[in-house]
């Protein structure tokens, strides 16, 4: 059930109405919300709901056990149970086959290398490589998101930063809350559970902002992301040799717009739906392509993932408190894992490595120049930095989008040919990219002003605007609903 479908809108309307009708009956209200969330998830993977339920039970119990245990060793033991359970799920479903394949490949490479050495038996290695089992499991939708959420819960309790909830219903609703279940934002228990504990409140601002975000998210998805995917990006990545260098470059700009509009559009709808139920979800994007360096980019792109890894990986590793070398290592490891989080494939390994290297280089450069991070650059330097960072992002997206390394290499080769025609880029594609970029680089306050203006409108006018946007979406929409990119992670 995609957000950009009639089914989702009807489903949300029913759930939100029921939710407010039961507003005074907390248990029943949460029960309905939990059932709705599970039903929503089952539209993706009917039986994989068992994984969510299993994960919910595990972390609910682990949270209570950690909290009640006095001895540090026992607390750590329960934390480990939670970690092993969550990371085990992720490992089995997302990474096992990739690493098994990598080991098998290594064995074969080693066997091929040993072949050069007379007298060394090598065939057992290839036999071993052939015997490595593969699971061939489908990746459950949203597993990377909800496992991170539940892990943050038990870790926070272990750190004594959070008290566990006694209510299984509340915890299960926190894990499965449908607007953000399959593609984030990654919500922390400390910011969401208190909202479930109390009677929700709604006001004019939440209604206006919620509706505005849902509309904006749908426009981003349908008008920009899907349109660019269908009309240029997918084709270029499918047959890069059919396009000139400039067309490939335009497709990369297009993909850069597409992935932002796709993912931030999803987040907008999620946050907007949450607001209509009086529940606030954290922001996930802050105009990332305005960044001047890698550090800023990752503070603005998929903010809930970056901050999650900062709080639960980078800081525990020592952050920047243990000297520059250790700081570089920690930084590299964190960014590398952000890359790998997106997918179990060599393209993401390289993507993570490139961004990690850029991040480390940036940190090194800042230290070397003893730059003040708060220094304000001149306009020209600022524009140069933004352009540089933007193009670094655009080019690294080759690895993000390519189906494998061969495909990425083919795209890069085509890019380097230096051919210049743009005959295959439709005027509407130029328009979509240009418009999206222009909006992205407008002052943030403009969007805030539009949002506030929409919020201040009478309900009738809001309804008319929503209907008009709906008609626009019908006009622009492709004949089928195009899945959100981040669902695959």
């Amino acid at each position: 059930m995609y957000f950009n479908s009639l089914q989702y809108l009807l489903f949300t309307a029913v759930v939100v109405s029921t939710y407010w009708m039961l507003v005074e009956l907390r248990m029943l209200r949460l029960f309905v919300l939990l059932c709705a969330s599970w039903v929503f998830y089952m539209s993706w993977s009917p039986l994989f709901i068992l994984l969510i339920i299993g994960s919910t039970f595990l972390d609910y119990a682990a949270g209570l056990a950690i909290y009640r245990a006095e001895r540090p060793g026992i607390r750590k033991l329960f934390l480990m149970v939670s970690m092993v359970g969550n990371l085990g799920l992720l490992g089995i479903f997302k990474y096992y086959d990739f690493f098994a394949g990598a080991i098998a490949d290594s064995f074969r490479l080693l066997a091929a290398a040993l072949l050069e050495w007379p007298g060394i038996a090598w065939s057992p290695l290839t036999t071993a490589a052939d015997q490595i089992p593969f699971l061939n499991l489908v990746l459950p939708v949203g597993i990377s998101f909800y496992t991170f959420q539940t892990m943050s819960y038990t870790i926070d309790i272990y750190r004594r930063q959070l008290e566990p909830t006694r209510s299984f219903l509340q915890f299960a609703t926190f894990v499965a809350f449908f607007p953000q279940l399959v593609a984030g934002p990654i919500v922390r228990a400390s910011e969401f559970l208190p909202q479930l504990r109390h009677r929700p409140r709604i006001d004019m601002e939440k209604v206006g902002h919620g509706l505005f975000l849902i509309l904006a998210g749908l426009v981003k998805k349908v008008v920009f992301a899907d349109y660019l995917a269908i009309n240029l990006v997918d084709r270029v990545f499918d047959r890069p040799d059919a396009f000139t260098s400039v067309e490939v470059l335009v497709a990369l700009y297009g993909y850069t717009v597409q992935i932002y509009c796709d993912f931030s559009g999803y987040s907008d709808v999620a946050i907007g739906t949450g607001l209509l139920m009086g529940l606030r979800l954290p922001d996930n994007f802050d105009r990332p392509y305005q960044s001047t360096n890698p550090a800023e980019f990752w503070r603005r792109w998929h903010m809930t993932l970056s901050s999650w890894l900062r709080d639960y990986l980078y800081f525990p590793l020592g952050g920047s408190r243990r000297g520059p070398i250790r700081s570089y290592v920690n930084l590299f490891l964190t960014l590398f894992l952000i890359g790998l989080w997106h997918g179990a494939a060599w393209t993401f390994v390289l993507y993570g490595t490139i961004h990690a290297t850029a991040m480390v280089f940036h940190r090194f450069w800042v230290r070397l120049r003893k730059q003040d991070v708060d220094r304000v650059d001149s306009q020209a330097i600022f524009v140069f930095k933004v352009a540089l960072m933007f193009h670094f992002t655009v080019l690294s997206r080759i690895l993000f989008r390519a189906k494998d390394l061969d495909n990425a290499s083919a795209v890069a080769d085509q890019l380097l040919l230096g051919t210049t025609s743009v005959a295959q880029v439709a005027p509407t594609v130029w328009l979509a990219i240009g418009l999206a970029m222009a909006i992205h680089w407008t002052p943030k306050r403009w969007v805030v002003q539009v949002k506030e203006a929409f919020t201040a409108l009478p309900a009738l006018v809001q309804g008319v605007i929503m209907a008009a946007v709906g008609a626009l979406l019908v006009e622009v929409a492709t004949s089928d609903v195009v899945p959100y990119i981040y669902f695959q992670f």
Binding site: S45, G101, D105, R199, R239, D241, D404, A467, G470, A477
Partner: protein, 562 residues
């Protein structure tokens, strides 16, 4: 920040906000309902009969929900769901038909001709290593070949392994090879293709020098060599690889490319596609694109090191035009000596320059060397072994009528030179845009085109292929077949049969009316969102179906003439 309030009853702010929300949603709902009542706005109806029912299919459990059925993931193909998954196949069979499901399954083998894909995860490295052995061995083997010379022996063993293996001679088609045969070829009369099949049988029996050449003209659905590369790979795997065949001298801005060949070019070539007209002499060459340079521009063509098809060549043949102001061009094979050829002649004269090389991996570079204007059409890569050559001759934006821009005698000469066993024509994709085209005019024009093209090779069997289904949005945004497409298909069929050509109905093979929309909605996606072109996966399905249609007809011939 969480919104926390006292545990009291609903307060006024909540009520007002919810009332506002209810009104806004009611207005939207009202507009949605009005689309069912008011005339002229039905295109905005949220749901109509014929759309997928809401909710009912959401909680359906399929086998693909849990496991992928796929080979071990590798660097080259990580974590992808293959079409060989039983669940995917079942779904495609239900939605698009059994024949398409079977031919989608066949995609794996045609996409990667490597016979042992799961055990060979680094084909590039392996091939490169093998080639190095050859080069080193060639350098080391100045002595006569003897059994005592291990270097010579290993060279020959490795060289054999590098070249495509010739298939074993057979005299029949195994029924399993016809699995998934769908739409069959319609012939104007029994035995109309016998000369083609006689050639193919000789090739199948691996008789020395028996090459079966096929030329496949078409529009943008052919220009990227997706359908044709599938057919070529399958024919060459089955009957023998006699070389890649013809490729244009340069593509310039055109979206044109071939699989199983490595092609590069400089940017300065001046090209005249036949679709533009403009050449007074009408000499657009065998591929329909005239290429020209006064000097400095170059194109290179080489064998591929991927897979088993297109890995070897034993002759390069440059198709060019000699003329009074002709310049020179040079050819250089691998790192060998450059050879300069003059293209000066008293009048206009189509010529061919052929270079024979040892059968194996090679690259040729053709460069315009100044001294005048170098005008050429392309190059053919072939091997002197029994097998099939399949020339992919797609021109972006082409309509069949554009072939009339070619000088009749020139075109006849080009076609005669290729010594074709079968001529394939596939047009209609661009004509479908001419919504008001009269079918009477189309019939007359198509008849004229077939006569024009076949005049030089009247004895060569001809096969016309229907265009792909092509969709457009109706008034409410749903995709339907452009109404002119089925009409054109019927006219094409009638004209082809009248003119003594066979007909293969691509449109029908895809599923007929509405198939482009179904292909677009299928998973994996088989058609693009322009509803005019298939994805590479879709083209491969068509290629597989066409190959099997040819094979099934050939099988009939074999049984009939046994």
């Amino acid at each position: 920040m969480p919104t926390v309030g006292p545990p009291s009853s609903t307060n006024e702010a909540d009520k007002l906000a919810l009332r506002k929300l209810a009104i806004a949603v009611s207005v939207v709902t009202l507009f949605g309902l009005l689309t069912y009542v008011l005339p002229g706005v039905d295109r905005f109806q949220p749901w109509v009969s014929g759309d997928e029912p809401l909710f009912v299919n959401l909680w359906r459990i399929t086998t693909t929900d849990f496991t992928r059925v796929t080979a071990a993931p590798s660097i080259a193909a990580p974590m992808t769901q293959t079409v060989s998954s039983d669940g995917v196949r079942e779904q495609i069979a239900n939605e698009l038909g059994e024949a398409i499901a079977v031919n989608l399954d066949d995609m794996d083998t045609s996409d990667d001709p490597d016979p042992q894909p799961t055990n060979d995860i680094f084909p590039h490295q392996d091939d490169g290593g093998t080639r190095r052995v050859i080069e080193e061995s060639v350098a080391d083997t100045q002595q006569p070949e003897t059994a005592q010379n291990p270097g010579v022996e290993s060279f020959h063993q490795v060289a054999q392994a590098t070249k495509p293996e010739s298939p074993k001679p057979t005299s029949h088609i195994d029924p399993s090879e016809l699995d998934g045969v769908g739409e069959r070829i319609e012939l104007p009369k029994s035995g109309a293709f016998d000369s083609f099949y006689a050639d193919l049988r000789a090739t199948m029996l691996q008789k020395q020098g028996r090459i079966t050449r096929i030329a496949h003209y078409g529009d943008s659905t052919i220009a990227m060599d997706d359908i044709t590369s599938t057919v070529r790979r399958r024919l060459q795997t089955r009957f023998g690889d006699a070389g890649h065949g013809f490729m244009l001298g340069a593509k310039s801005y055109q979206p044109y490319g071939h699989r199983d060949i490595v092609h590069k070019e400089s940017q300065g070539w001046n090209i005249n596609p036949i679709i533009n007209g403009g050449l007074k002499d009408g000499r657009y060459g065998y591929g329909g694109v005239h290429v020209r340079s006064s000097g400095g521009d170059w194109s290179s063509f080489g064998t591929t090191d991927k897979g088993n098809i297109g890995t070897a060549v034993s002759s390069f043949e440059v198709f060019y035009l000699a003329h009074p102001r002709g310049g020179n061009f040079t050819v250089q094979v691998d790192d060998g000596e450059k050879e300069t050829i003059s293209t000066t002649a008293d009048g206009l004269e189509d010529r061919w320059f052929r270079i024979n090389v040892s059968d194996g991996p090679h690259e040729i570079k053709v460069r315009a060397a100044g001294g005048g204007s170098f005008r050429w059409y392309g190059i053919a890569l072939e091997r002197d072994v029994p097998g099939v050559v399949y020339d992919s001759l797609g021109i972006v934006g082409a309509r069949a009528a554009r072939l009339l821009n070619a000088d009749k005698d020139h075109l006849a000469g080009q076609l005669q030179h290729r010594d074709l066993s079968l001529l394939v024509l596939q047009f209609g994709g661009n004509e479908a845009v001419d919504r008001k085209m009269s079918m009477k005019w189309y019939r007359e024009n198509l008849t004229q085109v077939l006569q024009h093209v076949r005049s030089g090779i009247p004895g060569v069997p001809c096969l016309f292929l229907a265009p792909l289904d092509q969709g457009e949005r109706d008034e409410r945004g749903r995709v339907r077949t452009i109404p002119i497409v089925p009409k054109m298909v019927e006219v094409q069929r009638e004209v082809a049969l009248e003119q003594g050509c066979g007909y293969w109905n691509t449109f029908k093979a895809m599923g007929g009316e509405g198939s482009m929309a179904r292909w677009y909605n299928s998973k994996p996606r088989l058609a693009w969102g322009d509803f005019a072109h298939a994805t590479p996966a879709g083209y491969k399905v068509i290629g597989n179906m066409f190959y099997k249609a040819l094979l099934a007809d050939f099988d009939d011939y074999l049984k009939r003439t046994k």
